[in-house]
């Protein structure tokens, strides 16, 4: 393998590992803040214990989310230095703004929140966790503005042999970035909702602290359902934006080979990229792909064959990741909907409770698949239409990158195992009296 492939693998490992922790941080910080606010409003001690219990799980998860985020900032320089040099004027400034605007706030107040349960009024203490929650979500906004720019570069001009900022407003209001942000954070909220519901289900099945976990469950199920529904809606808009700005990615997501108008969507489809066709293609919904992509059943959708082979993303990965993610998205609406309907007597629904436990990993899978669609589907570009991934990689020896990749795999596996072990341990332990 060459430096390019190894660096891509290393980035994939670093990003996917980082994103095992980020969504729970984004969502559970808000849920913890909601529980603590409910304590402030009602004085119900259970909500104070809830804030402490979920807050503890939040912190175990947060530790790895933060430290693995530093890796990503480093990687742009270490492994993608030609990219950094070419687009740093825009991309670098977005990362720097993220740090000053959000990361300080988050990292400072997480410590304050942790150490001041007995030192300040409940209202003030709740404010601290809200600051953490808001800051981590603002963080996500700036990171996704940066990623959105890689997906749909706007507001730049090519000058001095690089992309320079021309219109800052255009960069931060990039519609692609806004939709990507909504899609990513909604996914994170679903994940956090399912995490909380799963842990609640574990205890409710054992009749442990029933009142406590019912209260936590009820907040989480409403939260998860709202965002599962919203996700389907904003996901559709996001897909339409992809159709507009990255037609090759859309064609790969749908494994759509021939340019045509009034294109159906096939519920059953198996791509055959070697022969530039689909080996199975059944149960069409007439005009559906045209509608989804361009809100018009007669619209023309460009097929993969009309892109040069060198500019097509890997079809199999993009297609299957997308299909599976969408399928899971609908499943989340179904499960969360069921939970919501039965929420008043959830402790007696043992079948449903078991389902909730097994559902915990599914939103994790969906989030990772979503990133696979976004990043693999953008290939061969690192910045869509502007810079190829192959032109972005650093000048390094294969041995350097092979060593660091091996180190990342070993090191991250260990940390990941420990972190999930601790999460499971404290989740099972339940709240302190």
């Amino acid at each position: 393998m060459d430096v390019l492939m190894l660096s891509r693998l290393q980035f994939a490992v670093a990003t996917m590992f980082h994103f095992l922790f980020v969504p729970l941080t984004l969502g559970l910080s808000i849920l913890t803040a909601i529980y603590e606010t409910m304590y402030v409003k009602t004085g119900d001690e259970d909500y104070r214990r809830a804030a402490k219990f979920w807050g503890k799980l939040f912190l175990i998860n947060f530790a790895l989310g933060v430290v693995t985020g530093i890796t990503l900032e480093f990687q742009f320089g270490t492994n993608w230095s030609r990219y950094s040099k070419y687009v740093g004027d825009i991309f670098g400034s977005l990362l720097a703004i993220e740090a000053t605007l959000a990361f300080y706030l988050e990292s400072t107040f997480i410590g304050v929140w942790l150490f001041t349960w007995n030192k300040v009024k409940p209202k003030t203490h709740a404010l601290f966790i809200w600051l953490v929650a808001i800051a981590s979500n603002i963080s996500a906004l700036w990171i996704l503005i940066a990623n959105g720019w890689m997906q749909n570069p706007v507001g730049y001009t090519l000058r001095n042999g690089r992309a320079e900022l021309a219109d800052f407003w255009a960069v931060i209001t990039n519609p692609f970035a806004v939709l990507e942000f909504l899609h990513t954070v909604s996914g994170a909220y679903i994940l956090a909702g399912f995490f909380v519901m799963g842990v609640c289900a574990y205890h409710l099945l054992r009749k442990n602290e029933v009142q406590f976990f019912k209260k936590s469950f009820n907040v989480a199920v409403t939260f998860a359902l709202i965002f599962a529904l919203f996700e389907a809606f904003n996901g559709h808009l996001h897909g339409a934006e992809v159709a507009k700005t990255q037609p090759a990615k859309l064609a790969a997501m749908e494994s759509h080979w021939e340019t045509a108008s009034n294109v159906p969507m096939y519920l059953l489809q198996i791509p055959d990229p070697a022969n530039e066709r689909n080996s199975v293609q059944a149960i069409p919904i007439p005009g559906m792909l045209s509608i989804l992509a361009h809100h018009d059943s007669s619209a023309t959708v460009k097929g993969l064959k009309d892109f040069p082979i060198s500019e097509r993303p890997p079809v199999m990965t993009t297609f299957w990741s997308f299909r599976l993610m969408v399928g899971l998205g609908f499943l989340f609406i179904l499960i969360a909907g069921l939970g919501w309907l039965k929420r008043r007597e959830i402790e007696n629904q043992s079948g449903l409770l078991k389902l909730f436990i097994y559902a915990i990993p599914l939103p994790y899978l969906a989030s990772e698949l979503g990133w696979a669609v976004a990043e693999v589907g953008r290939q061969p570009w690192i910045v869509y239409g502007l810079m190829k991934t192959a032109d972005a990689v650093s000048i390094l020896d294969v041995s350097q990158v092979a060593t660091s990749l091996a180190a990342f795999v070993v090191f991250y596996s260990m940390l990941g195992i420990i972190d999930f072990y601790l999460l499971a341990k404290y989740a099972r332990k339940g709240p302190v009296h």
Binding site: V67, F74, T78, A96, T100, S107, F115
Partner: protein, 341 residues
Amino acid sequence: MLETIWFILWGVLWAVYFMLDGFDLGLGTLLPVLSKNESERRIIYNSMGPFWDGNEVWLITAGGATFAAFPTAYAVMFNGLYSALLLLLFALIIRGVCFEFRNKVDSPGWRSVWDAAMVIGSFLPALLLGVAFANIFEGLPIDQNGVFQGGLLTLLNPYGLAGGVLFVLLFLVHGSLWLAVKSEGALQDRAGAMAKKLWPVLLVVAVLFLGFTLVATDLFHNYFKTPVLWLIPLIAVLALIGTFVFIRQAAWGKAWISSALTIVFVTFFGVAGLFPRLLPSSLNSDYSVTIQNGAASQLTLKIMLVVALVMVPVVIAYQTWVYLFLGGKVTEKDLAYEEAY
């Protein structure tokens, strides 16, 4: 003009980072030496507890500001120092999780694993940052394409190592003083005695480093050209002496502030000598990355300056508040607090 302002800001961000994270890196390194039992170890962890994470963000920002304001410098430096920076990264990761993991399993074996991780994860960044900056001071073997002609071992030259030792010692003194501020009784005595013992070593290394700098680098060039700059090393020396004076008076808070000033002005000393270069090339001065050939566009520098001028004071304000609010001593009683590390 904007480039110059950003160069200064770049130096300030690194200086503040070294001043803040410096104490917890130093204290983490000294953990096994300063503590005699489990509750003393916990006091040490909790004395850094609410602060270390916020301190480390200054590193992220210093890196981010380099990326934004001087993208070419970021690209050349991170590509060139690949192995050293990834080593630094692994150390910071292992150190970051220590705080959260250490107390989550009730077993002495488990804790001692994380104590060891804390020592390595604190010592390595202190050393590597010193080595990296000393190498930048003396110039990196960068060719005309900005490619680094060397490896990890290139960095471990005598001057680079001297820089590493200097940083480690600065941070060890700074960390001991922090613990002296935050603890009481035997632990405080031990921390104060450690600072007192380390200070003369630091002085010797600092003097040697300064002499070495005259031989190995051209940092002094700017000082001879613009004599007013001598104020910077002068303040550094006075602050270093002040640190010792306050240590002798057992005025730990003042000694810590003095030590913080030392670190800040030692950083400024190097950065002012570098100007206008961010990464001097040891192969040919034409290959150096400077504020002219390495800077971002005027528009980016302008927008970033507005963000920095608005947000950095806000950050300083709330971080100062946190330091004042949670700055009291950590005692045995605080360890009973259920959220304590």
